[in-house]
Subunit: 158 residues, 12 copies
Amino acid sequence: MSKSPIKSPLSEADKEITGNALQATLVDLIDLSLIAKQAHWNVVGSNFRSAHLQLDELVNTARQYVDEVAERANAIGVSPNGKAKTVVESSGAPDYPDNWQSVESTVAAIVDILAKLIERLRARIDETDKSDLVTQDLLIEITRALEEAHWMWQAQQA
Amino acid sequence: MSKSPIKSPLSEADKEITGNALQATLVDLIDLSLIAKQAHWNVVGSNFRSAHLQLDELVNTARQYVDEVAERANAIGVSPNGKAKTVVESSGAPDYPDNWQSVESTVAAIVDILAKLIERLRARIDETDKSDLVTQDLLIEITRALEEAHWMWQAQQA
Amino acid sequence: MSKSPIKSPLSEADKEITGNALQATLVDLIDLSLIAKQAHWNVVGSNFRSAHLQLDELVNTARQYVDEVAERANAIGVSPNGKAKTVVESSGAPDYPDNWQSVESTVAAIVDILAKLIERLRARIDETDKSDLVTQDLLIEITRALEEAHWMWQAQQA
Amino acid sequence: MSKSPIKSPLSEADKEITGNALQATLVDLIDLSLIAKQAHWNVVGSNFRSAHLQLDELVNTARQYVDEVAERANAIGVSPNGKAKTVVESSGAPDYPDNWQSVESTVAAIVDILAKLIERLRARIDETDKSDLVTQDLLIEITRALEEAHWMWQAQQA
Amino acid sequence: MSKSPIKSPLSEADKEITGNALQATLVDLIDLSLIAKQAHWNVVGSNFRSAHLQLDELVNTARQYVDEVAERANAIGVSPNGKAKTVVESSGAPDYPDNWQSVESTVAAIVDILAKLIERLRARIDETDKSDLVTQDLLIEITRALEEAHWMWQAQQA
Amino acid sequence: MSKSPIKSPLSEADKEITGNALQATLVDLIDLSLIAKQAHWNVVGSNFRSAHLQLDELVNTARQYVDEVAERANAIGVSPNGKAKTVVESSGAPDYPDNWQSVESTVAAIVDILAKLIERLRARIDETDKSDLVTQDLLIEITRALEEAHWMWQAQQA
Amino acid sequence: MSKSPIKSPLSEADKEITGNALQATLVDLIDLSLIAKQAHWNVVGSNFRSAHLQLDELVNTARQYVDEVAERANAIGVSPNGKAKTVVESSGAPDYPDNWQSVESTVAAIVDILAKLIERLRARIDETDKSDLVTQDLLIEITRALEEAHWMWQAQQA
Amino acid sequence: MSKSPIKSPLSEADKEITGNALQATLVDLIDLSLIAKQAHWNVVGSNFRSAHLQLDELVNTARQYVDEVAERANAIGVSPNGKAKTVVESSGAPDYPDNWQSVESTVAAIVDILAKLIERLRARIDETDKSDLVTQDLLIEITRALEEAHWMWQAQQA
Amino acid sequence: MSKSPIKSPLSEADKEITGNALQATLVDLIDLSLIAKQAHWNVVGSNFRSAHLQLDELVNTARQYVDEVAERANAIGVSPNGKAKTVVESSGAPDYPDNWQSVESTVAAIVDILAKLIERLRARIDETDKSDLVTQDLLIEITRALEEAHWMWQAQQA
Amino acid sequence: MSKSPIKSPLSEADKEITGNALQATLVDLIDLSLIAKQAHWNVVGSNFRSAHLQLDELVNTARQYVDEVAERANAIGVSPNGKAKTVVESSGAPDYPDNWQSVESTVAAIVDILAKLIERLRARIDETDKSDLVTQDLLIEITRALEEAHWMWQAQQA
Amino acid sequence: MSKSPIKSPLSEADKEITGNALQATLVDLIDLSLIAKQAHWNVVGSNFRSAHLQLDELVNTARQYVDEVAERANAIGVSPNGKAKTVVESSGAPDYPDNWQSVESTVAAIVDILAKLIERLRARIDETDKSDLVTQDLLIEITRALEEAHWMWQAQQA
Amino acid sequence: MSKSPIKSPLSEADKEITGNALQATLVDLIDLSLIAKQAHWNVVGSNFRSAHLQLDELVNTARQYVDEVAERANAIGVSPNGKAKTVVESSGAPDYPDNWQSVESTVAAIVDILAKLIERLRARIDETDKSDLVTQDLLIEITRALEEAHWMWQAQQA
């Protein structure tokens, strides 16, 4: 059923731009949720527990927006794709190392990943300014949440 | 940090058998959680909403056991790996189709996936009988939950 | 007391444009809440219960925004009018049939009504872009909610 | 589908009497819920806030019984009709003024409306005494709730 | 201890009439709760889940009134009897088939059972009109609940 | 302000009969709440704790109906009077002994008090049958609650 | 059973002083709870609702301390007496008028009653300074609560 | 539909052994829930209330496992049968007497019934050790709950 | 540590504009929270309680946005400063009088303060339109909340 | 680390007196919590369940104050010691018998233990009157709670 | 309105001493709440998050007592003053540095501030011993809370 | 009452083996709960708070299983003994040092204690494999919980 059963409120051109922005955001956020869980389980060191808990909050933030983004894609008549293979092929997040990690390298990796995802989100806010204000509003909200998380993780490097 | 910072309560041999069973289960369940979300967003048809809601319950079941399995791996001194790439490389779940799906094909796909994952879990229950009763107990609990879900999805095909 | 006891933060011209957009949205949403209740009580057929429950969620969505829109009108110094007579005279929603309805015709009617109301809302988002960004933000939020509902109802027609 | 898909537990004659009583009550209560919301938004004056809150409680009371009345109509095989047009055509509530209102005129209008609706309800309690004791029981319960509200609003005029 | 340790507020004659009505209602409702559970477990078919959930609501309704009826019997000095054997011997509900059932036959069976129980309840409302108004009030309340459920199940046959 | 500020929905004669029934019930229930508290604090003996807890449930039952009765009096335009002096002068409850009491004498006293109050309530159900069905309905509900409590207290004497 | 079944941690003399203080406080607070309820039901006037709600908070405050005071009396081996007759005979609260009252006279009466009860409580704080510090602490806490309430009621007379 | 619409994860032989164990447990537990309710309503005597409450906890325990057992039967492809007639024909619980019972005879009867059901459960734990570890795990859990209840009821006979 | 340990997602110029807007908003809102508390404690007069409660809601609104604004400042690499001295030096709120105040002067002061703060916020919405859409979105949200509060306070002057 | 890392707000002499009082109270309360649990598990007899539940409340009371006392010790710069060995060496509670106990002997033992602990607490209230009013306040609060419990247990011996 | 509308329960002299103690405490606690928020936002470093959370608990403690102190001032007829200017002019807390701070310097500053405020509070406990025991009791409670917090912050310096 | 009032579902030999395993586990877990509280109060150092909170979770885990183990002992007819003296005489936990401890030495001590208790539990899982599968199931569950905690504490040493 590759033809959309959902009629879009947008023109074909706006739907394509907006749909691409949403699909890319979906994949980034699913990857973030998997990485943050991976980090949650594998962080070790003398004050690992604080990072362990904070990572689970990041998982929750990511998961909440994953759902809102997928629903928004549907709402404009675009099928969201969040399968593992799609995530591996198109996520913009830098790779996260295997095995246990110290608190320091965990913090550093999360800070880098968030910086990259925020940069990509800000570009999409610009792209959707003309194509769909409703989607732009959602992307602004996600950016605010990730930038707040970014501060919380950078603060640990001071 | 590939050397385990966690001292295992098991012998090296038992730890390897048990660790493999847990890592394989972890990957299967993460894939199940991603597939069920994908299906949740893409199911369409006259009574799609019932399936839509039931799929979210399946996501929750999968996510809950993902955490318990990863924590058990840690508890026996094995680093759990739940990254997207690892899921793509080693999940035992059959592929799920792209794009929107009718309720019927959604149900059929989920029934098949659950059947496959249950079969793999039952093999691991046998393998861990000698290596770690504590882990076996957890796998039995997961099998019970997935077999109950399996019934609920098959019932729709009657 | 037809002279406003509330001082507007907007210029007279902006207040008129914005006030009209809010009053029209108020009426549309009240009508939506009454229609969705009517449909909730009168839907029949083999899987009527799923539609029955989903209609009550639509009632709740409509009622929540009815309140926010009326409060926003007050905040810019415009008296909101949500009486039955006003709704009959100015609602933009197509008529909903009397008596019991099958699930199919219920779904079709709701999909049409939502499409019409969304189209009207998107026009108002454009109109308020110059007159009041705060009101525009609220209209964007309502549009997002109705477009999500629209997807959920269309999905049943696939 | 104007022929009832629901078999009534009542004789045809009792069903007509009872159905009329329920449909008339439904319309009165929907109108009450719309009027009370209108008053809630438009009341002003030095102690407007207490009335503002009390009006929302009245909305909730009205809405709760709207649902119970419509469900009872269905239960005896009568399709309930709660559309805006039906409300305008058959509600027994006196008109409520447009624009902002002082606390005093708000209280006076609500007291009058409640008095009228209670009078109509008491007549229906008599009518249903022979036709359906179950429906009569529901009408008695609604009357008790409205008469309690009536006291609370009159108390402000003392 | 077959002699009542509870002093009845009723005369001996009224107590016998009322007690019989309550004991018969008790048995009908226990049977309804067992049948609805049986149906809950054994319903299958493409939209079984909606019926599956709705049947559990019916179980809860039945169980709640089972307790209130038994307590009322005690309150008038009559020992309630809700044992399995008593249910088999005196329940007024038609038999429910063994093994899995399609949604359609499940709905049909539940509609028939409810119709029969409602008919019996309405007869008891008449019988207790002279013997005990307090008990009659409880029977009216149960009838209203079952008639509402009856509508919800019939609506699926439309 | 002895002239009623609340317009009654009843005729003067019905209002007097109904008002007397409500005022008498109010006083009985306030006294019951004070007596049950007194007993709650003063019961002693080997299994005093079970009675101690059950008495507090009786206090709650009494207090809940005290409020509903007073509100109903207001609703029909009668000022409720629940002052200590009024309770002493007109309560129908037998006296409760001073000082600590054994469980047995506590149970006996409560059983007697409840029997007396139920008898008085049943008389009022008859009196209000002509004067106000809405009030009668409330008195029936209170009687049911007190008769259920009566059973629970008598059961301890068996 | 007028001889105490509870062994007091205090000397006979201290027990008498402390017991008198507690019994007097118990009676004052029960009377306060009855008066506040009476006022709650009978207050009328243009902004009666705010007072109506505030009176119920006063009822709750009074009832909470009634229980704590009675329990403390028991703890020191004194049987608490909170029957209606005892309240009428020994309460220190000035009389509260019958029938409906305006907001102004309600406020005035409550302010007077609280002033009187606080004065009596402060005397008892002095009396128990030598006899029982534990009881004194409870009386201090009650005084603080009543003085805070006193401010809230006086503020309305400003 | 006597042929199973659910594919079993077990071999035909294991499914028969396991299915019999589950069906027998289902019937025992439904009977226990009905008996405990019967006892709950009919227990009388000086400290009946404690037993009255404890019996309702036993009802809840039984009901919870009734559902889990029926769902497990479905999960292995066996239709659960919990109708009143089936319970009467195959329950292993000794008969419970009619009419009111003293606390002592209630306790004695419940202790006997629990002892019998535990004995039957322990035999089924042995039978399922080879046929299905997942079902065995559920039976172990039920046995633990009933043995704990058994202690609580025996303790009263000491 | 005056050099920012947080890397800003904005250019230096945009960061300065946005940072100034956030710092100024932070100070205004902290002052609003202190003033509203001051008013909450010091308001007196015949219907002071309604204002007393409404002021605490204003405190909560202010406090909630204080936190969101400070976190946003951090997120763009600007240290928020909310010390008492900073508030005194840079708040834009008009002075609030010392000592107890009548309800009328309280309402008048709050209306003026809100008007001033809204005016300042609307200017910052314009300033941040080019510098940071994410911050602008937050300022729009705060403005909507304060304008709604403004209506509620002005309504009392009608 | 036997030298205190916490600076005391008290003089060295006051700290020693106060610290001794707190350490002794800590040990008494831990012992009480262990004894009450022991009694909770081992009480048997016809109405054992009421005592069984009441003992768990005593455990909760003891545990709550254990924490507050230990935190207060820390707050004045004294390390609290609550190890099993310390409890055995310095608790002031009389020994509690091994094995199951009848309700009567359980009640008697608890009454004795509470009497002893209260006596010791009252002595410490005197000792801390000069050394630290803040600690004295906490000891008064604990005494009040234990004396209330003492009444509840003595009441069963009446 | 500088003349007090609230009648004090204290003599003029006692009211002045007590009022001064309360006003000084009010200012200290408001400043503490602002400083703790400032620290909450500006703390950075490798384990900043633990301090970040702990600071918010300190804000809540301070805010809770701010309200209780202001209400107590009102209760004795003294207008509380908690405006920013008053805080700057009379707070006893040492200054807190601007800009981001390391965890170590944050902890050090908070420890110092708490030490200073506790010292001031203990002096006021002495001052109010003669003037008002009720106020003294509140100051003792605040001291206990701040001394407990003091321990928690000092513990981090060990 | 050293002869068991509870009839065991086990043979005498199995009861002895199982009873010993449960009693030993009971003592170990009570000691763990006391040690974890001791550590909770006495841990100090720059990130003590994270360990402080984590220790309280360990207390809760230990306390929960203490109750389940004691109840299981009762269920098989063995009196559980959890008195302080018994704990000192038979606990298998290594000694915990007196006075304040750094975070590092706290972590090290808890890791050692958990390792020892897990080793002892695993031996008991083997011992009960033949004597009682129900008890073995409980011991497996406890082992899983302690091994998970063990990982969390070891992770801090990496």
